[in-house]
Symmetry: C2
Subunit: 303 residues, 2 copies
Amino acid sequence: MLQALREYPQTWQDRQDSAAAWFKTLRDRICAEFEKLEDELSGGPKIGMDAGRFVRTPWSRNDSITPNHSGSQLQGGGEMSLMRGRVFEKVGVNFSCVHGKFSGVFAPQIPGAVESDGQFWAAGISLVAHMQSPLVPAVHMNTRMIVTSKSWFGGGADLTPIYENIKDTADFHGALKDCCDRHDPAYHPKFKSWCDEYFFLSHRNEPRGIGGIFYDYLDSGDWDADFAFTQDVGKTFAQIYPDLVRRHMNKDWTEEQREHQLIRRGRYVEFNLLYDRGTQFGLKTGGNTEAILMSMPPEAKWP
Amino acid sequence: MLQALREYPQTWQDRQDSAAAWFKTLRDRICAEFEKLEDELSGGPKIGMDAGRFVRTPWSRNDSITPNHSGSQLQGGGEMSLMRGRVFEKVGVNFSCVHGKFSGVFAPQIPGAVESDGQFWAAGISLVAHMQSPLVPAVHMNTRMIVTSKSWFGGGADLTPIYENIKDTADFHGALKDCCDRHDPAYHPKFKSWCDEYFFLSHRNEPRGIGGIFYDYLDSGDWDADFAFTQDVGKTFAQIYPDLVRRHMNKDWTEEQREHQLIRRGRYVEFNLLYDRGTQFGLKTGGNTEAILMSMPPEAKWP
């Protein structure tokens, strides 16, 4: 069935396999980096806690007989990796690789899905980290490959500091700019603006954080180049974010700073449930609710 | 302008004035009842706190010159009443009375709004209470009158116990059934089912709470009768809910019960941001964000 999605089925099967394998490799690398941070902690109010470790939970779906509530069919599965630690209050890293058939109402919203008779394949990694310390920024990263009668990559990374730090902001944007520039000088200005537009809470007229990059429907005509870029985004994230965490994780913080963090997390919840396309897409296509809502902060306030 | 919305402008102006005045009266009555509960508290872990009092904050909007981000125009305003107390951890009671013009994209979704050239008038009261005690149910109540080229009432009340209590459930449904039956024996079965369908989290396949009643587009052809019913819903709520609070508010609770309450509140957040039409309507028509999101719980967890 999948081989019918695009021409040259064997080529596409190989590409899908390569992309899915990469997302798993990246997941392993990031989880290892984050566990290392848990071990490295040497100060701050949570030092008495044990270093956290990821817990992996595989999940699978098979709606081939009974379509889910959206009328879509979903097969395949994924693996949630969740850590509740002393640096990372809650961090979820999801890998998923699914295929199926969009329902009639959903297909017209997805490029190439009408032409593929609703059939799609998708693999990706998504990550949200909510930190113990209000001085360490929260972060989101996601990369994915999608195939219908078309195929493309999408993803990005964006930072949500509770207290903005000018050097962190500059270094985060700088790392992503260098990454983009290694592939196409047109990418960074475009993907940075896209990120600013996307991660915006219009009902509050405020950005979610300081942004980063966001891209979608990336199909330059050179699949290898697009895949290399997507891999580079992942590798760049796996380097710069731990650097930022190390700068602040050992500091003490106040009750007032914690309270402010919990309120800012409320905004994060608002964005994810009101606007985030990944969340809405996942919930509407009958994805794994626990995996999708792993992005919710462990605690939030609307005082 | 408003007088053009329906035929017999003077009659409709009088009706709108009467409905708006009633929603204010109901607001005053409910706030007084709730403050009485704050005074009455005689046990439980929060007894050392001061009894809470509502703080009222009026707000007004005038988008007649520059339409808001949705392209709609909104004029008028309202009053938020917010109390953070020792029985009510956070309760918001909003009164609003607005009029304006829906944008072209929004008008077709509202009955009679295409025929009124997008013009509308709306007044109502909405209330959400999140309680200190996990043994006291959270609650939501809302009634409203809307006028375009048509006019109707809508509203309802529903209960969200953290721990379901069979007698509370029976008495809450019983009070609403008696209220409905005083007006039309067909109302309760219809409005109870509507409530169960509406307050349902399909992504979790679970109801928000134990339900109550939900009605909309109520226009029997007898405006006085529909208004009398809407008034009765408000009065019934103002009686039954304080009764339920009194049954449990003086009891002690455990840390474990509090934790469970915070997790259940996460579901409340999910419902309001993913599904609630009032929230989406308000945010999309450029309503007052603070007033709309007053329904968010003071604290919630997704552990």
